[in-house]
Amino acid sequence: MSAREILLQIGQVVTVLALAPLIQGIIIQFEERVQRAQGPGIFQPYRDLWKLFHKQIVVPETASWVFWVTPIVAFTCMLTVPILIPVLTDFPLPLSDMGDILGGGLILTLGSFLIILAGLDTSSAYGGIGSSRAVMVAILAEPTLILVFVGITLLAKAMLPFVVNHLLVSNWAAYWSPAHLFLVAAFFILLLVETDRMPIHSSTHIEVYMIEEARILEYSGPLLALLKWASAMKQFIVYTIFCNVLVLPWGLSRDGTAIGALGAAAGLIIKFVLVACVVVFVETAQSRLRFYRYQEPLAASFLLAVLSIIGSQLS
């Protein structure tokens, strides 16, 4: 364990921390442009966070300690996951062996779970609605997520994201195998679910059909800033897994030099912009569905994962 590796690992976390709002800003800006609006500029999330950190905190009288703990735990979870996944380098860094893909998934879910609790904790009507909706979606999303992980495991014979990355970079037949392609499609739907961009989510927030926003409606000031930041980081992490592990496994630092790491960070932004284009396209092209059709995309994702597992049954 050399000092450079430790520095790189810290660099991974800092990259996620620093770039997450930027990606959020790019997506929002892009979306606004597609919908023929001016858009707030790609740095707006940073300004939002800055502003929120300078505001005072208002806490509902009904809130318990869960209300206070949630933002901190959620934020910490999102700081932990980047250690486990290939953000900048294609080789494991110190502490990367703490957990595999499933472990990373668990930590991500822990953050969401606490936010759901917090939404219920304030006993406001919107928080309850948001939490229950989130759980309804999550109940269907989790089995699919597990199936996707099973698919990845069968594909690479390992659950470590680094192994998958290496396999896909080195083996074209594996990259173009139906197992992998269907896995990509299944994970793409999960990506939409996890980043609240399913066709049932509302693109304009703060209204009746909100899910994510409803849960944190009671938060204000620095606590809200932490939650928003955590949510942006979660999006960043899911994008990272999608790009660096599944779709675009190239462009990571091989040797761990400073130039390589910087290049990898720049590459990440380019990849994310590509994925964001697709996401925005899907979101704009797909008409909004009633909330009670939320199971359809998830059923499709489940099916794709099953197909991928079937496809991986021949070598």
Partner: protein
């Protein structure tokens, strides 16, 4: 046996095409609009034609090119066109009363695929072909069969049922391309023509249904019981 000595690339290509056709039959299962249903069917036929050509190329069966061309002509162009004409005449766009929600249909279809996989494994193990594309071909063949029956069961618009029937046939055709590429040409040709006659018959019959019964939904066909 073709499947026993295939290059990895050919094997990958076959499995990709087979899985894509399976996926397209799921698209058919999940779509509400008859038009989408029809497009998915046409795309599936083209995929199967590509598969025929690929098998012909890698297994050096030149007659399969002919089959591929005829598949495109009949299943990919002519049948969809005929059905499209029927749809246009009927002025029916979509299934109005769903017996089963598309998403539930997809999940049941996925379970069918798992069942088909289990059966195929068992059968392929008999010939020590577990790790070849034969498993996949059998799986796709059986699961398209099951999905076709599911469509027949849960769809009640006459056109949907016809398309369900065609999915049944497509599944068999696809599987036979990979498993028995050396099958006598005559049989495959006659089956292709036969399909055309079936669709023509269905076209006439749908017209009759509309004129004499006044509906094309099989939910309303319940005069004869007991």
């Amino acid at each position: 046996m073709l499947v026993q000595h295939l290059s990895p690339l050919a094997s990958s290509l076959f499995s990709l095409l087979a899985i894509v056709s399976l996926f397209l039959s799921f698209v058919m299962l999940g779509s509400r609009w008859l038009k989408n249903y029809l497009y998915a069917f046409a795309a599936e036929s083209w995929t199967i034609a590509a598969l025929s050509a690929a098998v012909g190329y890698y297994g050096s069966y030149p007659e399969l090119y002919l089959i591929a061309i005829l598949t495109v002509l009949f299943r990919g162009v002519l049948l969809p066109y005929l059905i499209w004409r029927i749809i246009r005449r009927l002025e029916v766009d979509r299934e109005i009363h769903e017996i089963l929600q598309p998403s539930s249909g997809l999940v049941i279809g996925a379970l069918f695929v798992m069942f088909a996989l289990a059966v195929s494994y068992r059968v392929a193990a008999e010939f020590h072909l577990e790790l070849t594309v034969a498993v996949l071909a059998l799986t796709v063949m059986l699961s398209m069969k099951l999905i076709g029956f599911l469509m027949l069961a849960v769809r009640h618009e006459a056109i949907s049922q016809v398309l369900g029937l065609l999915v049944l046939e497509n599944g068999i055709f696809l599987g036979s391309q990979i498993l028995v590429p050396g099958m006598p040409l005559l049989i495959e040709l006659v089956i292709l023509f036969d399909l055309l006659i079936i669709v023509a018959c269905f076209g006439v019959l749908v017209g009759y249904l509309l004129t004499h019964v006044g509906t094309t939904s099989t939910l309303d066909l319940k005069r004869l019981v007991g």
